[in-house]
Amino acid sequence: MSVEIDTSAFTEEAYELLSELEDSLLELEESPGDQELIGRVFRAMHTIKGSGAMFGFDAVAEFTHEVETVFDMARNGTISVTKELINLTLAARDQIRAILDAAGGGSPANEENAQRIIAGLRGLVPGAGGGAAGGAAAAKGKGKKPVVEAGPHSYRIRVKPHADIFANGTNPILLLNELREMGESRIIALTDDLPDIGALDPEQCYLSWEVFLTTEKDENAIQDVFIFVDDECDVNVRLLDREENLSTDAEPKKLGQILVERGDIDQEDLEEALQPLGDRLVDAGVVGKDQIRAALTEQQLVQEKREKKKKAEAATSVRVPSDKLDNLVDLVGELVTVQARLNQTSASVGDHDLQLISEEVERLTAELRDNTMSIRMLAIGTTFNKFKRLVRDLSLELGKKIEMTTEGAETELDKTVIDQLNDPLVHIIRNSIDHGVENPKDRLAAGKPEEGLIHLAAVHSGASVLISVADDGKGLDPQFLKRKAIEKGILPPDVELTDKEAYQLIFGAGFSTAEKITNVSGRGVGMDVVRKSIDALRGQIDVQSELGKGTTITLKLPLTLAIIEGLLVEIAHDFFVLPLAAVEECVELSRDRVANAHGRHVINVRDEIVPYIRIRDRFGIEGESPEIEQIVISEVDDKRVGFVVDRVIGQHQTVIKNLGKNFEHSEEFSGATILGDGTVALILDLQKMVRFVQHEEAEENSGGE
């Protein structure tokens, strides 16, 4: 922290003190034995020195220190007040004045003069000159223990305050709290000395503590906590986790051994009481219950540390190239498919034994699948860390102050998803920094703290992961977005949009709200890239914004790309899979309901008008549709859209296969899967299909005008 302090208060006071000093010195010349006067001189110099250093007048402080040191001896009676001392001190006073004048813009003080005065003063000191000044410096380095190697260490700290510790206004709890703040701690209160309530003196301290502290700090830092209570408190610090304590081969220390080592009991006590150890020791009155408790805690702590070490060693021992894992996932995918076939076959054969085997294989396959998937799961934390750097660099570049906080860094996602998530997240965060968070001046004007905030969070939600980027910037203005879109001809002038729909505009290709091109937004990458990548990940984007308060962009992503939960449907004799995450409900579509809609593709579901797409027509599938068709109502881009199919077969866990080069232009499919009987089912990309249809309709409309 920094406090701006006006130095004129010091110089003014110093001049005052100097003239006072002069008067006192002259008086002292008259009556050299006057202790009161000596005290006054000393105090004046002491104050000049002390405040001089605090206000940055180091030259004053250094010089005055020499004079003060000598005068302190006069005060103690080590040297007597002589004419020579007074002369030198008066000269010193003039020298201090000269230094102050120089600092205030006067001619520089005569350094030789200063040296002469100091030498003269030192000459008055019996024995070695200048010894007093050296003593203080030597005292600084005393008692420091060698520093142990870096890394968190576990310490046992015994804190035994003397009974009268409260008399100095010391609160031992604060000391314990200070230790607590240094790391992970366990504190055990030793209450054995506590007398009966009748004999208890509330102004005495009867308690002592054993603190088990795991901290990055060294032993000196621990000792420093007790700097003020050196005399009122016995403190014993011991490093617990030396290598021999932690080496995983050695037996953990036994309770008795620990007690002996700590000096609570000696070896004989231990051997005498060696069977039910803790109880016996207490019964025998050798140690208190609390001491046993403390020793047990120590034992536990060392054991836990060792467990951790073991785990850490085990965790680092597997490293596999990711393509091997990808292979494994593919194989598991095949297995899931074959297993589905086995299920179907065994059901149709009706052999009881075969069915039992099939069920067993199904259970194992599911477990194998989940395990394999979990191997590819990675915590998103490393990606988060990369963004911290990005935020730091970019905000610096743009002259903004932004702090980034993260949450849920331990959230796990499929490695491939994480890899493909990097670019879109970079764009979103860039966008937040560039367009979201205002510059410090505007923020202050808007009554916000100067420093903007970007919060990056990841959380599991069912079979999806929600990743949100929230800023506390200026928010999105739906009217402004709409106007821009109309200006650019993306939307017709009379368009009606909800705020949500307006927000989605920022993801349109070639749509930029930046009023001026900055280094950041001029990189030729837009938010449309974000939409494309998230679509490719079968994810969804949600935008929440409040004008003036900030924007939150949430990405909803599947946990894994290799397997999806799908809804299997049939049209004529073709099978299709709709991603189950998007499916909301299934309703029937009878012929008379179609007739009632007068040719428009909408249906009334509980008083809500829902548009639908006939997949049969869309793909030109021949044949007669059944009397009653099914509409699968799904949520696509925040809107409810129905997809008409002949028959809904049911939930189907689908291993996704790529369609291959021949079909890479069929955008309405995101892949294919093989059903149990070997039939191929295409996986529909609902978002693309809806956008396709919308696009076509818009063209038809404009063509018809």
């Binding site: 922290m1 105090r43 002390g50 405040s51 302190d72 409260f166 010391t170 609160n171 604060l174």
Partner: protein, 120 residues
């Protein structure tokens, strides 16, 4: 917020201590020497005292001694301002009942660190 008294005969040190503490949100009462401090403290209870040692009229050590004799100030943290050359004075202060000390010159952050240490 806690109320702290600063006792110093030097107006500039008082100003610096007082600005630092106010900046950290503490209420501050100022006194120019031990006598002044005692008079002010008898009417107005504070949570902590920061006192210089060398002062006219009544020095810091006497102030600490007298404060510790008052029921209200028996356990209140008292910090003394000392200099490196005053090892014996420091001990005298401790014996009189000072909770801790700060060696002059000090930086504002050091002062706040010590306050946090003894006041919580």
């Amino acid at each position: 917020m806690a109320k702290i008294m600063t006792v110093d005969d030097s107006a500039s040190v008082r100003q610096m201590v007082s600005l630092t503490m106010k900046g950290a949100g503490y209420d501050v009462v100022e006194a120019v020497d031990g006598k002044d401090a005692l008079a002010k403290l008898k009417g107005d209870k504070v949570d902590m005292v920061v006192t210089d040692l060398n002062m006219p009229n009544m020095d810091g050590i006497e102030l600490i001694r007298q404060l510790r004799a008052l029921a209200d100030y028996k356990f209140v943290p008292i910090i003394m301002l000392t200099t490196e050359s005053q090892a014996t004075r420091k001990q005298e202060g401790k014996d009189a009942g000072a909770t801790g000390w700060i060696v002059k010159p000090f930086k504002p952050a050091q002062l706040l660190g010590v306050i946090k240490k003894v006041l919580g």
